[in-house]
């Protein structure tokens, strides 16, 4: 009996009981479909997260005032007003070979009012270099200029969400809206960035000159800022830049050698690591749950194979009588189990991929089916069949032909 014939015999036996074969494989089908779908959704989330992070800025380093614990939220901004716009100026002046562009950033918020509409949003004050640092330009109109910065002009650019909610989707350029009873003129509309995978709408934002936000909106002391954004020439210089930046800030803030930093420097790779560690943890967790369902599916196969061996005792006896060696019987039942589970695996892969795309489509989630997850699922389903099919097959091969032929 060669491999092809063993396969044919197994297929014939399975096709004799189509409904039972499908029901037996159902455990594997569901298990594999779950694994494939979960991994595809998880991978899709983390891939799009990485893409978003890299689109957040051009080799960007962010400095927060105050301290920030890794993996937590930063409680520094607003709480500790330790950073100054001049810190960033000094960094650029001292290390022009490292820093490509920079801007300080101050944050505020407020209720914007236009005619009878109003919308609560976040406001960021930056320098015009923001466009270069964040790789984020206007899609229509213009960004404010250096001279708007100097005069603290009441001008701004707005995100698409503001356009949709405050201006009913109409062209807002040239229009004037009010915040805290002060008029601001819209110069441009920012290109659409979409929602982050953490659910934050990046287009729900108004960007103004730094001076306008600190002097007019916050009425605070001019020099304090929330963040410093730096764009560096090369990621290869990331470590060095962070080191010299830290030294410079400590020196400017007059921190003694034993005093902790009153600022936190992070770069995009850290944010990316943090987010992917969360999402990969979720993926692993879900994969473990899905594997348990595969285990249950495997036990289902073993159960049915045991029933099948008992049910086909006479057939086994006959096959032995006409010359089937024990190994041939073993291989026949083992192949049946393996075919059952790999067919289930293939069906599960198809269902899982389809399911992931359907769920992704309904929820607007990105889906990424990794080839490796398909290969591993397929291999694993085959392994489950062989592992759980071995015991029933061994039992069949050890039966005594005389007893089998007499079996009623």
């Amino acid at each position: 009996m060669n491999g092809l014939m063993i396969f044919k015999v197994a297929m014939r036996a399975l096709l004799r009981n189509k409904v039972r074969s499908i029901l037996t494989a159902l455990g594997i089908i569901v298990g594999i479909a779950a694994v494939i779908a979960v991994v595809a959704i998880g991978e899709g989330a983390s891939t799009s997260m990485k893409a978003q992070i890299s689109s957040m800025g051009d080799n960007m380093i962010i400095v927060f005032g105050g301290s920030m614990k890794k993996g937590g939220v930063h409680g520094g901004s607003g709480g500790y007003q330790t950073l100054m716009g001049e810190d960033a100026d000094a960094m650029f002046r001292d290390y022009p070979e490292l820093i490509k562009a920079y801007t300080p950033l101050v944050r505020s918020g407020g209720q914007a009012i236009f005619q009878e509409k109003n919308w609560s949003t976040q406001i960021q004050g930056v320098k015009p270099e923001f466009v270069a640092v964040r790789k984020w330009d206007v899609s229509s109109g213009v960004f404010f200029t250096e001279s708007d910065m100097r005069t603290g002009a009441r001008v701004c650019v707005v995100g698409q969400t503001i356009v949709d909610n405050l201006f009913d989707g109409l062209d807002p350029i040239g229009e004037t809206f009010r915040i805290k009873n002060m008029p601001f003129k819209v110069l441009g509309v920012l290109s659409k960035k979409g929602t982050t995978s953490m659910g934050q709408d990046q287009d729900d934002i108004i960007i103004m000159p730094l001076t306008t936000v600190s002097r007019v909106l916050r009425r605070g002391s001019f020099n304090n800022v929330d963040q410093l954004l730096f764009s560096i020439y090369s990621m290869d210089q990331l470590k060095e830049t962070k080191r010299v930046l830290s030294d410079l800030l400590r020196q400017r803030h007059r921190l003694g050698p034993t005093v902790e930093d009153d600022f936190t420097i992070i770069d995009m790779t850290e944010i990316s690591d943090m987010l992917t560690s969360v999402s990969s943890m979720m993926t692993i967790l879900m994969a473990v749950v899905a594997s348990i369902s595969l285990l249950v599916g495997g036990i289902g196969i073993m159960n049915i194979m045991l029933v099948s061996v008992t049910e086909r005792t006479r057939e086994i006896g006959l096959r032995m009588a006409i010359g089937a060696a024990p190994i041939a019987i073993l291989l026949q039942f083992l192949t049946e189990a393996a075919v059952l589970s790999t067919m289930g695996g293939i069906l599960g892969i198809i269902l899982g991929v389809a399911g992931a795309y359907i769920v992704g489509d309904l929820n607007k989630w990105p889906i990424y089916v990794t080839p490796i997850s398909v290969v591993i699922s397929f291999g694993f389903s085959g392994f489950v069949g062989i592992f759980f099919g071995f015991y029933p097959a061994l039992r069949a091969s050890r039966l005594n032909p005389i007893d089998c032929l007499r079996y009623e």
Binding site: I322, G323, A328, I402, L405
Partner: protein, 223 residues
Amino acid sequence: MLIEIKELKRGYNMGQEEVWALNGVSLQVEKGDFVAIMGHSGSGKSTLLNVIGCLDVPTSGSYALDGIAVAGMNRAALARVRNQKIGFIFQSFNLLARTTARENIELPMLYNPTAPRGKALHDRAENLLAQVGLGDRMLHTPSQLSGGQQQRVAIARALMNNPPLLLADEPTGNLDSRATADIMQFFQKLNEQGQTIVMVTHEVDVASFAKRKVIMRDGKVVA
């Protein structure tokens, strides 16, 4: 000499004492013979058939089938002997359900490494089916065939590997008198063509078709 059995014993351990199903059987069957083994139930005739059929191994004594000493072979080697040397015919036919007559007949070839494959295999199966008079029932499943027809399919299957020995265990036990006469006449025809047949039966009129009768009682050949 096709079958040469000397002082064969087969015992079963029933608790404390040994029960001898075969208690010193000697039997010789020449090529071309047609032997009916008779006896009441419990006389040991089925055990003898199982040993001759290499399904069971004797406790002691010697058994040579077609010149091969069978005693002491392992299960895989016995399976090979069964495949090449013996065609089995059972009382309850033992055809695979929901499987066509042709596929049932081809089954022994599946385990025969030297068997033809593909079209040659089908041709041989179809040939045999025609020989047993079922050439038009090739693709029928057992449930679509009468008892006599099923047994004829089983005979065709037994002949598939061209075995020197045909072993039949109560081949007509499940058949009516007409089908019984049919099958036994077919056996005689096969025998006339040189096929050696050993058959177990308890019916005297079935046994009368054979050339020779072997009567067993209490694990021994008495006549």
